[in-house]
Every structure is written in C-alpha cells, then in structure tokens.
Symmetry: C2
Subunit: 393 residues, 2 copies
C-alpha cells in the first residue's frame, strides 16, 4: 500500500507555487529582457569583499561549526548598533534575531503570532511571500489598498471601527513590492497609534529601505511603538547568497521565535553570518557601496519610467520610484496585462501582471516592472518591445 499525503491537498490549496517564480522559470530565455524578476543586480554585489571575508572567517575553525539559533553573537551585536541608529534608541542584542533571509522571519512569526483563523491585514497589492506564509498558517486575510502614500489608513480604520480585530498588520513600509510606494511619515505614526489602541502587532517588512534615491527613507514605523516587529535583510544591499535577514522585536517574541528556529533548521551558517557581520561593521565602506547601488538603481528607474511615459503617454499611470526595485504601472486604456503577457514574451520582454499580487482588488490593468538588472539602453529597448506587443501605441 502506498503511503499517502493526508493534509497535502488541503494545504496546497492555499499554497500554490508563487506565480512569479513559475513565470521566471519560463522567462529565463536569453532573448527575453526580464522586468519580471525581483532580483538585485549581481554585478553590483561586493564579490571581492565577500570572498576576502569568507577567507578571514574560515581562519577560525569555529566558523565551520553549528552556531547559536538566534544568530552568531557578533553579528547580532553589529545589528544592534545598526538598528539603534535607525530607531533612535538603544536596541539590545536580545531584541535582535538573525533569520535565513527575512522570509524566514515571516514564516516563524506567523507560527508564533497566528492561530488558525486569526485575522491578518495585508496591503493590496501584496507581497506574495507574506501572503503565502499567512495563508499556510490558516489566517483569515483582509486587504487594505495602497495609494501614493502607502497603506490607506482610512480603510484600515474603517475595518477596525467595524469591529475587525487583526492579530497582525503587515506592511512593506518603504518602496513597496510590488506597489512601489512608501508609507508617509504621518501615516506611520497613525498606524502605530492604531496598533496600540487596538492591540495588534505590526510587521514592518523593510528589505528595501536603504535603497533610496534622493532622500533617506522616513523613520521606521518601529520608532513609534513597541508593537512593531521590524524585518530587514542583507540580500538587497550585500547579496542574497548570505541568506541573512534579521528581526528587531521585543525579547519575548525573539525567545518564542528561537524555540521555533531550533525545530525549523537548528541555526544559520556561521560562515555567511560572519561575512555579513564583517561587511555591515565596515560602515564607511558600506556607505560608499550602498551609495553606488542607489545611484545605479536610481538612474535605471528614471530610464524605465521615462521610456514608459514617452512611449505610452496618458495610456498609463506609473509610480515615481523614490527607491527600491519596482515600478507599478496602471493602464488607462483598458489593456489586460495578463492577456498582453504572451505577446510581450513573443516580443522579448517579461513583466508580472498585476493580478499576481491581488488580494481582493482587481489589478487586471496593472503590471509590476523591476528595473534593477538592466541598464538604461536595455530598459528602453524593453519598453519598445512592450509597446510593440501592446500594439495600440
């Protein structure tokens, strides 16, 4: 008798493979310009520094061994100093927890904070990695739309006043994926106030906050309330291969996450955590490195949006990227972006249709474009191909 998968059918129901990941498998053809991915540019990653740091780390044999579940001590210390600067208060090491990318923080937090059926409020359009985790936890998901200033707090307030009691509100506060917008400073304060008034956790998911183009990101939501669990990552400023994310949370949350981390994978890699610690601790070098990434991404964002507006005129409304990796485009001419995609792939350009990120809003006429991995000339060519596929331009 074959063994069966008792819960599998039910679980897979809420766990379809990410549409974006599946799409990426189809669009890795060399002749397609990829605006669909969400990858940082490997050409900008500090390979030589990482190689030198790896070599230095391996001079200590203890870096070959298992490490502590909450993260290698010196990395947590570096992060505590770093986050103390961000948050304008002394962050204790006990408030820092290192995860295998910030996706693992979302996953472990969903186990700690959510009972099946608990309400989670997300943004619409949403970060699909968060949706996947919250759905797997059996949460009830309600979405609040974004506007140009981020999460619409009037919509959130309406839900709360109608009696909805979320366990968690998830926000990508800076340079939203996929929405491209940033939560305005006044809204950050208001969101924090609502969290304290109604007793919910805010997960402030902030992998992109350092990638601002002209002015620094606003103070984190976490500066306004202890009800905020802040997530960040080395993936976008150093390299995804380090698999180094981190969480800043009250110590009891960190202790609960530690128990789950032991069961999930025991601990992270002492090697990649020491590399991360060394590079983050070299603050002068890091500032220069991140400046370079900002300049390059800023120029690419400008090139992409400029080309889109030049080509499509008032047929589109595009975000004005102030940082991060993504542009969100709404078509005003009725274009169905899912229907357009096969023609776009034929013309040699890939993007993600808006409905891949939809929770309860219809994003049939929207798309997400990623500008990080192509130079300006290639981005312009991509827009030419998109216009050709679109036909109506």
């Amino acid at each position: 008798m074959s063994a069966t998968f008792p819960p599998l059918a039910r679980r897979l129901d809420g766990l379809q493979s990410s549409a974006i990941r599946d799409l990426l498998k189809l669009t890795s053809r060399a002749d397609i310009i990829g605006l669909a991915g969400g990858l940082p540019d490997a050409e900008l990653m500090p390979r030589d520094r990482i190689a030198a740091a790896a070599d230095a780390a391996l001079s200590d044999r203890s870096r070959l061994q298992y490490t502590e579940s909450p993260g290698w001590g010196p990395l947590r210390e570096v992060l505590a100093v770093r986050e103390s600067g961000r948050l304008g208060r002394a962050v204790a090491v006990e408030e820092i927890f290192v995860t295998h990318g910030s996706q693992q923080a979302l996953s472990l937090l969903s186990e700690v904070l959510l009972d099946p059926g608990a309400l989670v409020i997300v943004e619409d359009p949403a970060y699909v990695g968060a949706l996947q985790v919250f759905r797997a936890a059996g949460a009830r998901i309600v979405a609040v739309p974004l506007d140009s200033e981020g999460m619409r707090l009037d919509a959130l307030r309406t839900l709360l006043e109608a009696g909805e009691r979320p366990a968690v509100v998830h926000t990508v506060s800076n340079f939203h994926n996929p929405g491209g917008v940033t939560l305005a400073p006044q809204r950050r304060r208001e969101l924090a106030n609502l969290a304290e008034r109604y007793g919910f956790w805010i997960i402030e998911d902030d992998p992109y906050g350092e990638l601002w183009f002209e002015r620094p990101s606003p103070a984190p939501v976490a500066t306004y309330s202890p009800n905020v669990i802040r997530l960040s990552s080395a993936s976008k400023i150093l390299a995804p291969t380090l698999r180094a994310g981190w969480m800043i949370a009250p110590a009891p949350v960190c202790r609960a996450v530690e128990l789950l981390k032991q069961g999930a994978d025991l601990c992270g890699s002492a090697l990649t955590q020491q590399i991360t610690a060394e590079l983050l601790a070299d603050t002068d070098w890091l500032a220069g490195h991140v400046d370079t990434v900002r300049e390059v991404y800023g120029a690419r964002a400008g090139a992409l949006v400029g080309a889109m507006r030049a080509r499509f005129g008032d047929r589109i409304v595009s975000t004005d990227p102030a940082g991060g990796m993504f542009v969100w485009v709404d078509f005003t001419d009725g274009t169905d972006t899912a229907a357009l995609l096969p023609r776009a792939l034929d013309a040699g350009v890939a993007y993600v249709p808006g409905n891949a990120f939809a929770v309860s809003t219809d994003y049939t006429r929207s798309m997400r474009l990623c500008f990080t991995t192509s130079d300006a000339a290639t981005l312009t060519e991509a827009v030419d191909r998109l216009a050709k596929a679109h036909g109506g331009v």
Copy 2:
C-alpha cells in the same frame, strides 16, 4: 494596548527549548570536559578545501544571487549520483531536495505529511530534534523502544495489529542518536514491508551512516520500499556551517516540500551549496577525508568505552559503538543520572541524562556520551572525573 501572543502559551507547551541545548549553555566552561554535546570535531573539518571552494564559487557572480528552492542544480546532480550508488538504483534529480540541514527536512516534511492529531511513531530514546518538530505539528507521538538491533519491530507490529495507523514512522537507522545502535538488515526489510502493508511513510534519518568504524553501514531502509523518505547531511562529514542537508523522496513529496520551502525561507545559499557540491563530487578526496574521520572517531569511541568499562565494571552496560558519535550507557547500580549531573559538573565533566531523550520509557539510570570532540587521554580523564562524581566506584 500591548499586542499579545495568542497561540504562544499553547505552542510553547509542546516546544520547550531542547534540554540539551540549554545544558550546553551551562557546560561551555573551559574546565569542563564536554561529553554532552553532539558536535562533530571542527579540527577534522576540511577547512582548506572549503576555503578554496568558496573562492572558486565566488568567481561566478551568479553564486551571489538567490538560487532554486529545491537546491542548486549541480548539487542536486552530485547528490543524485551519490544516492544512486547508496540505493542501488538510478535516483532522479527530481527525487533530490536540498534543505538547510536535515532538520529543515524534518520540519517541512512534518507540514506535508502530518495533520494535527496524526500518529507518529518514534524510537525510544528519541532524537529530540525530531520530537520537537512532530510535537509542533500537533502529532500524537507513540514510542517503540530500541534494543541492540535498533527499533524493536515486535513492538511496532503489536501496535499495528492493535489498530494503530501511523502516518509516519521515524527512525535513525545508523548509529542512533542517542541510543548508539544500528537497525539490523533483516529489520530494515521487515520495517519496509510493514510500511507497504499498512501504508505509512518511513522517515529514515541518516546523518551518521558514513561514520562507520570497521564495516560499512547496512543498505538503507530506502532500498527496500518507495514508502521511505531518506534524509542525510553534509554536517557530519564536511561541516555544519554549510547547512546542507538533503532528502531523497518520491517526486510528488519533493514538489510539495518545494512549495513549503518557498514560504519557509525561499531558498538556500548558492555559495555554501556550491562548496558542498564541489567537495562531494571529488569522490577520491572525500573517501580519504571520511576515512580519517572514521579512524579518529573509532579510536575515541574505543577509548571512551574502554575507560568506562575499566572504571565502572559491571555497574554499567554500554553500547559497543560501531560508528557515529554517541555511546549510550545504562547504570545497573541504581545511579540516577540526573541527580549525578550537578556533581559531575563540579568534577568537570558533562553528559546528557537519559531522560532528556525519553518519550515513554524511564531512562533515569541512563546517559548519552559523545566521543567526537576529545582525544583519548581527555576521554580517560573525563571518565575518571565521572567516577569521582559517582563515588561508588
């Protein structure tokens, strides 16, 4: 209003921090000889090869990027070749899934295979990392005792004949942690037959199988049935810092695990996976390296057991380690090993009391000793200290 942890109290109930991990925190004092840990010896890890492989890996910038959720393709190919040799059949790449250590495989499998309340049969004494995961999944856990030939299949058969229907039977087939014993070849075949007759999954957890001292481990349980999901790891033969475990399972199980891996942490590290692939693929070098580890561990095991028998005589019964990292000792003189521990720590030696691994059997008079990280003279000194603490010798 503070945010609360709705499910936390309930979850922590089944998720106490591993007693061993907590103990290790207390016993890292330099004056204590540690027989309590379960770590491979960092002095034997191939540091220079790892450093050279890291350098080579980083010559390709794509190794800085995110990688595929089921593992970096070339590592899966190396593992498919390796496991084809182990299992005596052609293992397809689609049957190989790379995890963040084999602990992550246990964690993801428990989500795929277990509904809350599902029955999981484990060995008694049990690997605590597995217990933790199965408890977190809400499984009902029933234990089958070990004897000198591994899991007692007569006890398992009794449960099955009484109508128990496990979803999963978990076994550490080679050089059990903590029990030190190996599942006999005839029992492997019988266990596989029972899995097919009653329709359950076997998780064959095999991190130690290569660490045999005099003769190779028996053919894996997985050679006898497709109902077996086999887990292994680079942690004990290369280095834990690589965080490279792997699962050999039917392709539908791998696909289900892939969906969960995306939510759990997206993917592993392309850097450490390439290092692992390079070292595992160099089979001539690897054979010599693992031979060295075997010889050293075999000599240490012999020294520890020899000293225990010389010191304690018929007051103890010890396993005869044929491989792996652990010795299991039963006291025949009524010694309570938990009560002995504080005196042992005072005398400068640490071990783990048997009840830390107990499911439903009383192991008050047992202990687990790890022989991997001390040389023969230190192990002899450790036993002298233990005898002094014991007093009755």
